[in-house]
Symmetry: C2
Subunit: 187 residues, 2 copies
């Protein structure tokens, strides 16, 4: 399975480079494929859509379980907020250069931002389900999930478009803005 991964990596690299140089809309899947000496069909076998060349990232798993692990006594938003913080801490700070340029592309392309949001649908649904299972009403659950994931995204894009600081800092700041005004106890 080394060949497959290799082709995917080449497509990803070429795609991101071309999109950075020419813009997202101006870059076609055909072009990316050609750049790698590969057919268009092969491109779509590796990425379900053109957007995924840029969007493909390894986050998202485990988030729902991190939230489920927070104490059920907290208000919904607070549970999601702390769950996301906990999930983040368990992750490594990303390779600054590559990730930052990737995020920068997304930040500059409304269509990609929308697709990124679409991609989060599964995560958002998972979060909502955890909360609803614990007797939070649906509206509160949706608001909590939406607000916290929104803050996460804002942190990511802000980090990507700036040049200093760590992602972890931004995430803590962004989620902090949603926090209950009396702060940071630990349980």
């Amino acid at each position: 399975m080394t060949k497959k991964e290799n082709t995917k990596a080449k497509l990803q690299a070429a795609g991101r480079r071309l999109i950075q140089e020419q813009g997202y809309e101006a870059t076609t899947a055909d072009q990316i494929a050609a750049e790698c000496g590969v057919s268009t069909m092969t491109f779509f076998r590796h990425f379900p859509s053109k957007a995924m060349v840029v969007l493909d990232d390894p986050y998202d798993p485990m988030i729902a379980s991190a939230i489920a692990a927070q104490p059920r006594s907290l208000p919904a938003i607070e549970r999601v907020r702390r769950g996301l913080l906990a999930a983040w801490i368990a992750l490594p700070e990303p390779d600054n250069h590559d990730q930052r340029s990737r995020v920068r592309i997304i930040a500059h392309t409304p269509e990609l931002r929308a697709k990124a949001w679409e991609n989060n649908t599964a995560t958002r649904a998972a979060i909502v389900n955890v909360l609803v299972r614990d007797d939070v009403d649906r509206l509160s659950a949706e608001v909590a999930a939406g607000a916290c994931l929104g803050a996460l995204e804002a942190a990511l894009l802000d980090w990507g478009t700036s040049s200093e600081g760590t992602l972890g800092e931004r995430i803590a700041t962004a989620l902090g803005l949603l926090g209950s005004t009396a702060e940071e106890s630990n349980d």
Copy 2:
């Protein structure tokens, strides 16, 4: 300009009906146009994309100015939150039946939800700009705008998929969940 508006209304009605019956992806722009005895091109002259047959709504204007009108002394989130509440109050409760079925379609179609989010980009940017102009840092502004608009959307979809209560109630509830824990003073 009556003919134009008439055609648009017919396309909208036919489009929504067909999409409701067959699903969003299964319904083509060609089909909607044919249903109205009109060419495909005409469809796209009235709606910039297929999604807009369903998404086209009259909200959004004035929101930014409602936020600008809130006292600059409040934290960003609180300003946006109160601004949206104020903007809502200035609006009439929508015609229950049509709007509800419209929202229901959106709620059931991830692609449409994503496009709705994309459509909000302009509003979100306007809100962020108002805040930044008043010396709120960009990250806080993005988080505030994202969280509050996210809550608004959750309220809308929840209202659309349920069958009781008013939109106004849901919006108040949803935005209330983001509120500072010490509640509801008026200034």
